[in-house]
């Protein structure tokens, strides 16, 4: 991984920070000169991941969410979103479209489906009781090459 630039932020798991987090990551990604569609794909994927941390990982408590992002030499953005919340028992099941543990709150169960389809790759690792890490990557300008 040849890293041209990198950044790290951490913030409290309150819903006000959903907008803050996606804006910061998009400002960082802007260095790759993405088009409108690429930037809104990243914005949406980050929003989904951070919302998962707030709604699920830190469901009954407040915690810290950490985002680190890297710009790689092949024009790729690498985004890691990490929490130390409750973790996911069954990652495979959680990633199934429309699966949700919070239907009463009108969660559509599409978070991972959006991340998967809007980014080039998605990796989720989780340990119950320890937390979850989501890694997403997207090549910018790939469609035009």
């Amino acid at each position: 991984m040849n890293v041209k630039n990198e950044m790290k932020i951490s913030f409290k798991s309150i819903s006000e920070n959903e907008g803050f987090a996606r804006t910061v990551v998009c400002a960082f990604a802007a260095m790759l000169d993405p088009n409108m569609e690429e930037i809104s794909d990243i914005r949406t994927a980050v929003s989904e991941a951070v919302t998962n941390c707030i709604v699920h990982a830190y469901r009954n408590e407040e915690g810290i969410i950490e985002i680190s992002a890297k710009i790689l030499s092949n024009n790729e953005i690498y985004i890691k979103i990490k929490d130390k919340g409750c973790g996911i028992q069954d990652v495979k099941q959680a990633m199934e479209p429309l699966f949700t543990t919070a239907p009463c709150e009108e969660r559509a169960g599409l978070g991972f489906a959006v991340m998967e389809s809007f980014m080039d790759s998605l990796k989720v690792s989780s340990k119950p009781g320890k937390g979850t890490t989501v890694i997403m990557r997207k090549k910018i300008g790939g469609q035009n090459e």
Binding site: E37, T44, S47, I54, E106, A108, A113
Partner: protein, 103 residues
């Protein structure tokens, strides 16, 4: 989160604007539901033309309003979503529940 609701005979149009995420979804839900329960319309239109961002929280919002309108024997439609919002809607398959129109 600004929202304007206009009601005509048997029809409510909710004009959403700005960014729709988990943070604002519950207050939008509350305002729309109050208007719907007051007017008991046949049709609820959600207008997205001024929405600048939406994640899957917006899909939850549409799905929830679909359920409510279904209970009241009414219908729901989605109006004027910008391209990147339409992309999220398409992925969700929400057009099976609500017609998506460009006015």
């Amino acid at each position: 989160m600004p929202i304007k609701i206009s009601s005509e005979e048997n029809k409510i149009i909710a004009f959403l604007s700005g960014e729709i995420d988990h943070h604002v979804a519950s207050s939008l839900r509350r305002e729309i539901d109050i208007a719907v329960r007051e007017c008991n319309p046949d049709l609820l239109v959600l207008d997205f033309s001024q929405v600048t961002f939406m994640d899957s929280s917006g899909i939850g919002l549409v799905m929830g309003r679909y359920k409510l309108m279904n209970e009241l024997n009414g219908k729901i439609s989605v109006q004027n979503p910008p391209p990147h919002i339409k992309k999220v809607m398409k992925l969700s398959g929400i057009e099976k529940l609500a017609s998506i129109n460009n006015a």
